[in-house]
Symmetry: D2
Subunit: 340 residues, 4 copies
Amino acid sequence: MKANFKNDYSVLCHPQILKALEKYSSEVNEVYGLDRHSKRAKRYIREIFGLPKAKVFFVNGGTMANMLFISYVLKPYEAIIACKSAHINVHESGAIEGSGHKIIVKEGFNGKLYPEDIKEVVDAHVDEHMVKPRLVYISNSTEIGSIYSAKELRDLYKFCKENDLYLYIDGARLGAALTSRNNDLKALELGEVCDAFSIGGAKNGLISGEALVIKDKELAKDFRFHIKNKGAMSSKGYFLGIQFAEIFKNTLYFDLARHSNEMAYKLYKGLEELNVDMLPFETNQIFVRVENRFVDKIVEDFGVEIWAKGEERTIVRFVTSFSTTIKDVDFALKFFKELN
Amino acid sequence: MKANFKNDYSVLCHPQILKALEKYSSEVNEVYGLDRHSKRAKRYIREIFGLPKAKVFFVNGGTMANMLFISYVLKPYEAIIACKSAHINVHESGAIEGSGHKIIVKEGFNGKLYPEDIKEVVDAHVDEHMVKPRLVYISNSTEIGSIYSAKELRDLYKFCKENDLYLYIDGARLGAALTSRNNDLKALELGEVCDAFSIGGAKNGLISGEALVIKDKELAKDFRFHIKNKGAMSSKGYFLGIQFAEIFKNTLYFDLARHSNEMAYKLYKGLEELNVDMLPFETNQIFVRVENRFVDKIVEDFGVEIWAKGEERTIVRFVTSFSTTIKDVDFALKFFKELN
Amino acid sequence: MKANFKNDYSVLCHPQILKALEKYSSEVNEVYGLDRHSKRAKRYIREIFGLPKAKVFFVNGGTMANMLFISYVLKPYEAIIACKSAHINVHESGAIEGSGHKIIVKEGFNGKLYPEDIKEVVDAHVDEHMVKPRLVYISNSTEIGSIYSAKELRDLYKFCKENDLYLYIDGARLGAALTSRNNDLKALELGEVCDAFSIGGAKNGLISGEALVIKDKELAKDFRFHIKNKGAMSSKGYFLGIQFAEIFKNTLYFDLARHSNEMAYKLYKGLEELNVDMLPFETNQIFVRVENRFVDKIVEDFGVEIWAKGEERTIVRFVTSFSTTIKDVDFALKFFKELN
Amino acid sequence: MKANFKNDYSVLCHPQILKALEKYSSEVNEVYGLDRHSKRAKRYIREIFGLPKAKVFFVNGGTMANMLFISYVLKPYEAIIACKSAHINVHESGAIEGSGHKIIVKEGFNGKLYPEDIKEVVDAHVDEHMVKPRLVYISNSTEIGSIYSAKELRDLYKFCKENDLYLYIDGARLGAALTSRNNDLKALELGEVCDAFSIGGAKNGLISGEALVIKDKELAKDFRFHIKNKGAMSSKGYFLGIQFAEIFKNTLYFDLARHSNEMAYKLYKGLEELNVDMLPFETNQIFVRVENRFVDKIVEDFGVEIWAKGEERTIVRFVTSFSTTIKDVDFALKFFKELN
């Protein structure tokens, strides 16, 4: 690999994370997430997102965060509505169904769901022979890098509330969404457009860790029991606490996400000038359509994933991260220039 | 209601069923399905379907039969492939997902799945981030009354075996399929085209009961434990045994199904002559498209279910059963004649 | 077998049940439990138990009824407290755990749980590393034929309510309990001592069927979805409705149970006079301790189950039912007389 | 706190772990556990335990490791046999039952199970109305710090194999067991006495991580699907890989465990001389019985957990770890000396 555009989690972490871990490495801590670092981190998060009463939990992975919240709030016969491209539908090996719940899939548009999608499901599910739709799952940024506008989110949440549906936002790449040039939603407003959301750490500079933020604390009453019951409670919860405190005690979380986005933006703009064929772009993922004969070389040099194969052309995904440098971007641009 | 075309399970049972129950009503029986009637019934079924080594189990409902087999043979991360219109996908309130498994949905055609549908799924599911497709679920007759040809079934099963997939046939209306005028599959051949199938009783003259036939007895080794674990073992298993013995000791099961089909055929042909708009027809369900202004009256007189509502026209479903009479058919034909 | 003391479900049903089925056998019914017979039966039950607002559901088996209620009201990390001898703990093949919940087992006394048993569990379960006890399961009559006094039940329920625990009564043999000579609880009072209970049909003259009575209708809001989700919704719900209506439209349910108890009482008293060694007796089960050399013959003549084997003596269980006759009792007494 | 005997996971990690993480912190890695560090670590583990064909998986926590293996190998109606004190029975919030399986509890002795315990369960579980025992769970060292002798393990495994039972060893504190002064089992022999075992990292100097070792690779065929399905696959699997490689590339894992044990041994011996009342001792946990009036002070100074409260005396648990120093031990001894 000559420049790393593989994904946003192939490098361990931002240097400050390791520094923080070192700093507290000989401290004696409370265990199972009751430590002072976790408490600090939760305080920061409540402030940044303007949710003084929210409950915050740290867990090890995104699939787990999704599954934990969904399986906590739903009864056995209740179902999720999600996009066809939703992470929970495609890339979680049936973890949601494994917890007992059906995902009702809608095509959506550009990786996003709209009130009319939800309405179709609600209208069709009329009696007890069908599951009862009860939670809408969206990702922001989405699996294909798009983001929701503030208005889209407000409309969606309004529709959900009118129809007794929870709205959950998978924020595995929330940082990328909130620091996108196209974004018009403030972090402080996030709580106004959903019932719960996750904040991805692993894809934004942490070693690991997802924060799960549940707005209404009543909704999260016994959530620690649930975490433990699903095998997801870290004995050394302070390992997650230290990391989240580090990244949210100031603006580091957003700085790293913005850096990723900016590197992607530069790459995108440069490729645009070279007339490279690309899908719409908004965050830190760029989907590039290239002739099949170039694919092997591109994969070799940039470690990128193949997204979709066609007869003549293939879509490859370039992902930037906290560790992407301008040198990486320039190298990629040079590569494509020479292709022409 | 002036003539009953509501569905095929709104009348308790065929008179011979009650007669048989009465006959054995003061007998002392072995319990939990180990009684002589259940043994008899299983023997008849093995003979009729030419499967001397198959294991046969009787349970109370179709959703349960489907869920029992599927949840027995699949590991947690393994998934089912089914048609969009599949009963397990639409009308079982998430029972399959409730047992932990994802249903991967394909559009299919005319309620049926084809090898190319399966191939698309198999090709797309390449690694452990996605579920592992392991079982193909089809219904025969399907939820919309269509049936598979012998060749379609053979092709499908061949493809399944080449791809390490189980093929399971939901036979809630198996009788209707096997006695359809279009059918070219012998009961004796059913075991050649699937790994397991159910035989619906409730929709063909029994009070209740589905037989689950598992071809390879190794595949059903501890199945009685599984039935009990899912809360589905009848203490008075002989109640099911007596019914299935009665219906399979001679040709009654097929006679009743054929009667349903013939009544439907007569109705269909009669309506065709009246130029009534209908969907393709093969078994005991007739889907009739009528102007919206007639719907209420039709529902009132025939108890039929509304299948799909349109702006101007509505599809209603006429279902015949063991209890449908030629008088019912004539009454319906007269009704439609007068509509014109 | 010369006289049947095998169990209370080896004979199909009381003649009136079959008669009622016949009476309605050509009627066209609403399906899935929405029929008029189910409605009638529910009305009778609400009246008899003095619970005008209760929700009543009919399902096919006792294990299912237990699992349905328990899995409906509990969150994944919540647990059940039950006696070691509890049916859900011993004889349901892990159905409750299969629905995801731990059963915390206490020894109990004479098949019964007491507030001090519950208190021990509550006191020990202090944090989220342990399950959260949330439901107390008892059977009345118990698995060994004993019954709770009204005071025992009131004390238990009071303790449960003070500790935020549901109390559920498995009434697979509720009739036997309420018609025991020792019983001092009125049917009308049952709702005062628990949150939900089942009423066993199969062990008291019905072909099959358990009624599940949930006192607070809010607690049962979407219960029909749950029934369907667990594969337990009967398409021909009216089959259960007709039976329950028949048995509760007058006093038949209690008459049959009383008959069973009285037959058992006569047998017990007769054996007592013969100085036969027996466990304490209250309902329709008699546990007789006999020398091992007599066991084979007793099993052969009476079809009884072996309850516990010892080096020298064995406990066998004689069960009476609606179909037990005084002739059966006399035959058994004669047998034991001749043993001496 | 004046000296830390709280538990063995209240300090982040051994310095070499952080050093290793730093060393590889800017490397681009394969993700989801397919990286070179994980491969290295697995190779070390296979060598150390003499299991060249074993499959090794790294996951984040002990409860997860236990649940993953158990839920992978068992069918829904199959059950686990475990000690009353077993971690899975007491301190995993019902995670095992949450995955659908019953734990059959035996009293055991000194935290350990013996063939006769298992035999009792096997003998009692005779038919499909009961769960089918299929896996024996033990911990080594146990939850109360005791260890199994090589002979005890061989006898247990032999019995398991004769009865078609899997034997799984929860090795959350495997290091402590294998380096106990009383231990006579070689690491190389571990594979001879069980089907699978875990190797706890978090309680022996790692930040987090448990290795799950499955002897027969056929038994682990699709295990990566299962890990993902349970939400337990780390995107940055190399974080676990780096740690396990570091600790197993030489003897560090055993050195740290031995250090813990030796610190505990010194403390134990010192307390013995002071005639302090203690439970039997073998690894890094010391259970001390003290008068109630001293408890608050002991908890304050040493952070220890209260294990059992009595009317007059209380058992507190002193745990040593990689970070315990001889100064800590001396401080504790001085404290107890002054108590006298």
